[in-house]
Symmetry: C2
Subunit: 431 residues, 2 copies
């Protein structure tokens, strides 16, 4: 069969990796796909020193690539929102199929992109947008298609997981590890996207849509970062038999879909608790299959390229399929998306780890306990750490409680004269 011609837009880390893997594994890929995949053109402002692009047409004008009549599939790897959106829309307008690794673009503009693609009868594939090289979108969308998904929870930001892993392994503080991660290139100069959970929320938004069949609703995601976690919290969690992970969690409840990214304490024996460093993993609970987990590198040139190329091969396979039989962008047929609302975070039920700083004085613990008791919050453990100072940390582990009730209790606790500083709280999930 005749080769499929692709255009790569963006030749940075992922673009370079994609070019190189397509070239290196050309034969292996053709043995699988039954036809060759040829890079017809590259749109990039500069060369990538890791790539031998000799013999491939390179232009600084990515839109030229998107309009090139020779090209079947546009691979968008420039990142960001505005130009990427314009590029993808131009490609669709020109009847090209699109493969992208851009989580921000899909999470924020996916609904309109998919509608445009539907109209022009082209495919948009985005496996690389979530969890890098792990084929988790394919697993949920196709591999678990017989299930009603109950919930999913994932470590879907490698930078955050690297920081938490280092804090635990070496007893170091957040700021200290972040600086090292930046030096190592694991964290950006502006780490907000990673450490405040925005990147994870982009990915979670996508996972939730394909798991539950709801439109992409990034603006409804609850996002909390890891910058307030101290070395002491990490250690206390450990003493209680837990680990702190920055999880994206989405759960189907009777009243709506939970969509939340926050530091979470999980039992140390849980498989997710043993996913270390920059690795990613997504745990999915389906009504038939039970729990399955998908683990691997969540970022990097070639892991991401692996997902991009798998998408290209998939698109190639579906080129001749009747459009109604293609895998829908969001796993469910566009007309079958559900209107289940995203639940406000106040409705979420979880256990809590609380860390208070109190004056060491008789009766303080009793007052705190009675506030919790009045709010009908059951205490699993309460520990006053010994120090030789006047202010001592108190650690409380609660049973499951609705977030709204916990918020009210915390306001009351913080109002106590002997409680200093804000209460630190970390949600506890037993998964």
């Amino acid at each position: 069969m005749k080769p499929v011609k692709v255009g790569i837009c963006g030749l940075g880390t992922v673009g370079g990796g994609t070019f190189n893997v397509l070239k290196r594994n050309a034969e292996e890929i053709a043995r699988r796909a039954g036809r060759s995949i040829v890079v017809e053109a590259i749109g990039a402002r500069r060369e990538n020193p890791d790539c031998d692009t000799q013999g491939t047409h390179i232009t600084a004008d990515i839109f030229e690539v998107a309009r090139n009549p020779e090209i079947d599939i546009i691979i968008e790897l420039i990142g960001g929102y505005d130009t990427a959106l314009e590029l993808v829309m131009t490609a669709i307008e020109n009847g090209k199929h699109v493969v992208t690794a851009n989580k921000a673009l899909i999470a924020v503009h996916g609904n309109e992109i998919f509608a445009a693609a539907q109209k022009k009868n082209v495919m948009v594939a985005f496996e690389a947008a979530v969890a890098g090289g792990i084929p988790v979108i394919k697993a949920i969308r196709e591999g678990l298609s017989g299930n009603r998904i109950n919930w999913l929870a994932g470590i879907i930001n490698g930078t955050g997981n690297f920081i938490l892993t280092e804090m635990r392994d070496k007893g170091r503080d957040f700021a200290d590890v972040l600086a090292e991660a930046q030096a190592l290139g694991y964290a950006e100069a502006d780490p907000t996207f990673d450490v405040e959970g925005i990147d994870a929320a982009h990915k979670l938004t996508i996972l939730a849509s394909i798991a539950f069949g709801i439109p992409l609703q990034f603006d409804k995601a609850y996002t909390e970062g890891i910058s307030n976690i101290t070395a002491a919290d990490v250690q206390y969690a450990e003493e209680l038999g837990y680990r702190i992970k920055h999880l994206g969690i989405s759960r189907r409840t009777e009243s709506g879909i939970e969509l939340r990214v926050h530091p979470t304490m999980i039992p140390e024996k849980a498989l997710l608790a043993n996913v270390h460093g920059v690795m990613n993993a997504v745990l999915v609970d389906g009504d038939a299959v039970g729990q399955t987990m998908y683990y691997g590198a969540g970022a990097g040139a070639e892991p991401t390229a692996s997902a991009v190329i798998a998408d290209v091969v998939d698109v190639v396979r579906m080129l001749t399929a009747d459009r109604d039989n293609r895998v829908p962008h969001l796993a469910f047929q566009p007309g079958s998306l559900s209107e289940m609302p995203i639940s406000p975070v106040e409705e979420v039920v979880s256990g809590y780890y609380l860390r208070l700083t109190v004056n060491e004085r008789p009766g303080v613990l009793a007052k705190v306990a009675s506030i919790l008791s009045e709010s009908e919050i059951s205490i699993n453990a309460i520990v006053q750490k010994e120090t030789h100072q006047q202010q001592v940390p108190v650690i409380i582990l609660t049973q499951d409680v609705k977030e709204k009730l916990m918020n009210e209790a915390i306001v009351k606790i913080e109002a106590l004269a002997d409680v200093n500083e804000a209460v630190t709280r970390i949600r506890v999930e037993h998964l």
Copy 2:
């Protein structure tokens, strides 16, 4: 679109689970697939008390189902070799697509089944044949299609993993735990298939084919069971920082493909070492993606049904695709399968754990060490366990060595006058 009509042959554990999940999740599945999946007929010798089959045609003659002109897809869940083969061939002959959970059938007769399917232009899908509900065939075949796979290693028999987990957790002996597993229904009355690694070898044979693009060659698989592992081995492994898992391992080497199932010591921190009880997991190393892992329930009614139904949905999607664009049965195009030989196990390189029973007498350790040294086998650790008996266990951990050299050294060690009983050996992999 008009519904897809399936026939289920076999209404035991998996057949019953498949019927029930198809019924319970009919709406969710149709929202994804874009059309309904209807059970047109069931072929089964008896009813399943867990299934409400009212309104569905049941016949004791499975071949009637395979020939039913109304049916698009035959789901083979009767298990075993001969009748299953005849059923699948009859279905193919009648132009039906086939979905099966039968690992033995695919591993042993897959090549001829796929050839027949190719000729009749029908699909044969078998996700449920390996690792139950985990979509690992899809992951390797489609999700990692951009990679050259280097190796894979998996816990792919739940019974064996349950036994090893119990031996470790409770310090119990093999025979003892096996009896319990049989009582719990985790192990068959005749446990040979599970504990001797035959079931795992069936699954490994399939995984190796789709990973490396080679024909199915079950007869070349090296198979070693767990019945010789003692509680002491489990404990010594633990003391050395390892765990014993019954792994299926397939690796691409320059001289051929390794295909082997045997007890294996792996570092306790490895994610695979933390897969407990009846759970399954497969670790895959690809040149672009690095390591990814897939975890979940490897057996059971509904987990297996989950994979069966995913296959049905996949077949439905590909019904209208050009046949050359369908996902090939063994991941690689039939004409592109490689002739890489399966390596004899004597060529495999790994570390070794050896347990010797020796007379407590000066110079024994030195003699053993010098035999290993003469074979150029480096020792990582050698420990003589203290007992109050005349015969004491000696534990040796070696560096990587070719199996043939180790075999020769063991023959010499066993010939020593002060070494009693056969040497126990467990391969060590660092994955």
